[in-house]
Subunit: 382 residues, 2 copies
């Protein structure tokens, strides 16, 4: 088969760090990348072949992107899915299909999809707003906004009536709180031909007090047969969407050994960042291959890895400054990624660090050390 | 130490594939990259933060680049070294120092430098143009243009008087032909602090009839102590230039086990392309770290590798098309790089392929198979 170069032109709705990291395999395979973002100079806009400026919900902006490229995908869920669905119906190549995006945008609909397809997930219920209805469901429970949640926003843990009085506004539902579960992430990629690959499950280590991700371990500290089950369940979940693309599947492994699907992101995912250095083929290269309908690459994990997000430190805003970077670079197999964001704010994801090694114990110690010494923050006190 | 982001802005004279591959670590470390090239849409210009259009010898274009960034380097030797030297003398940060570039631009001067510093290299002599003077030096020998050689141009093998009658024009010299030598390449990187790292020697496997590189093997098929000597000699050679940066050192290993320095390139080099996937830190990331004066990364080779250049097939010109790519992508640990060149011509470097594996024998077989099945060419017959 003779392929004309470039093979295809790719467009991404959203110019964040996920689209930015896709730019590297795009350059490697000579694939022009256009990103749509509301702001010029977005993380991906800075490194893409071209950027278009516009709202991610503006039908004209989305149409302009679709017309400028051959295949479109997205780097976040909060985009104009109705417009994208209409464009796909009119023949545009948008992967995963915007109907999947629309389903996933609504967490209640997503849960119903899992229940309908026999995919194990925690119990859930819409409640009428009264504390009695929540108590009847059972506490502790998790309240979730049906739409718009992201990076821990739109999720609240409800343990008692006082929590419920400060509950999330808008359309929400409650689901069972999975106590002491291990949080796993499995990246899954599939292409139009039906070829589907899964990556080794990673373990998300969460700070028990702050409920924030501390670091991610690859592979997860679970038995091989459980890892196999997690990959199979993630594959089944993605297959249920029936649309090619890259997906991040979040799972709970409960204390009694049951696997539950928590949520799915129909895009590159934070829990796959280590794949850039740790795997034969990164999540971003496989995402690109799926968009181009090329054979998918091996997901083999070369070495164990730990990945920490670099998030803006509290109390500071402004242009980013970083402490602790220089000594870190002297360590072997430490890989620093900075996202090019021009403004640092508390809690904002500014980059990540991946460390490869031979033992999980060693990597955990390194991660704790990095967390204690590397600080990214704005240059001004808030 | 608190670092402001971006750490520094980098400028590269020349927008070819070497600058293009530097763009990836630049993006990863949030380093703005500007390239100067005579043509808009050069391989690196397509993926850099910004491109400047101008001759690589034009003092005004070089000065504009120096003024737009914090540190300048180059991705080829054929650039305006006198102008760059003057800019460096006036305080611009240009690495390696343009005086090194100027020395290396002239292959005769380069040889004299090695002789002066006690670095083993093959015998050489300027001859007076008569066949008698060549015969007195000894044949077979290699005639080399003093300036302007590149990718096999400016080099001729002289075996007899007929060859000499078709000799290279201009200022040239002859050097001893090193029969049946193994050609080795060692990448060396050093930073201002004095820290210096070397990569494992690679072996350049040359087609004995066409005198063209067939593929490159990492590590080279040589004894560990010889590999150690090659690294030490390459380090000594680079140290003799006394200027930070990335260098590609080409060596001959003669049949009697002697190592000779052939030539040095003061930049990223074809013989380091495999380091992108095969080493903990790629030649490009270490080049960037050297330009930023940050600690250099580990050069450890993770797995054995073979690297083939994808060069334009004879008989065709025009927009590039490629055969044999799709089945190749199904193979594990195969990494395809395309350089974004919009015009394919016979012999033009259009990309490269790196394959990682556990045994050299297996990799050689794969390389032969790829060479027989993957063809890149222009879309039109010449």
């Amino acid at each position: 088969m003779t392929l004309q170069l470039p093979i295809k032109r790719i467009g991404i709705v959203g110019g964040g760090q996920l689209a930015r990291m896709l730019a590297s395999p795009c350059a490697t395979l000579q694939v022009p990348l256009t990103v749509l973002d509301p702001m010029a100079g977005s993380p991906a806009g800075l490194v893409a072949t071209s950027e278009q400026i516009g709202s991610l919900h503006d039908p004209r902006a989305l149409q302009a992107l679709v017309e400028a490229v051959d295949v479109v995908s997205f780097d976040l869920e909060n985009v104009g899915a109705d417009t994208l669905s209409a464009l796909a119906d009119a023949g545009a190549s948008i992967l995963p299909h915007p109907d999947v995006l629309r389903l996933i945008q609504n967490k209640w609909d997503q849960k119903q999809h899992y229940l309908k397809h026999g995919i194990p997930t925690s119990a859930c219920r819409r409640v009428d707003g009264s504390w009695a209805s929540v108590e009847a469901f059972g506490v502790p429970c998790v309240q979730k906004a049906e739409v718009g949640g992201y990076d821990g926003r739109g999720v609240a843990i409800i343990e008692n009536e006082a929590d419920w009085q400060h509950r999330l506004p808008g359309d929400t539902f409650v689901e069972a709180y999975v106590a002491n579960a291990i949080e796993l992430g499995v990246m899954v990629c599939c292409r139009a031909s039906g070829e589907l690959v899964t990556y080794d499950p990673v373990e998300m280590v969460v700070d028990p007090e702050l409920h924030l991700l501390k670091y991610l371990l690859a592979p997860a500290r679970i038995a091989p047969d459980v890892a196999q089950q997690a990959r199979a369940l993630a594959a089944q979940t993605v297959a249920s969407f029936n649309s090619p693309g890259l997906y991040g599947v979040e799972l709970f492994l409960t204390v009694d050994g049951t696997l539950w699907v928590n949520e799915v992101a129909p895009r590159a995912h934070n829990s796959g960042h280590h794949t850039i250095e740790a795997c034969v083929t990164s999540q971003f290269e496989n995402q690109l291959r799926a968009l181009l309908d090329l054979p998918l690459g091996s997901t083999t994990l070369r070495r164990s890895a730990v990945m920490l997000n670099l998030v803006g430190a509290p109390g500071y805003v402004g242009s980013p400054v970083i402490d602790g970077l220089v000594p870190l670079l002297s360590e072997p197999d430490v890989h620093v990624h900075l996202y090019g964001k021009q403004e640092c704010r508390p809690g904002r994801k500014m980059g990540h660090i991946t460390v490869l090694g031979d033992s999980t114990e060693e990597l955990v110690a390194i991660a704790e050390d990095i967390a204690a010494t590397v600080v990214i923050r704005g240059e001004n006190r808030q």
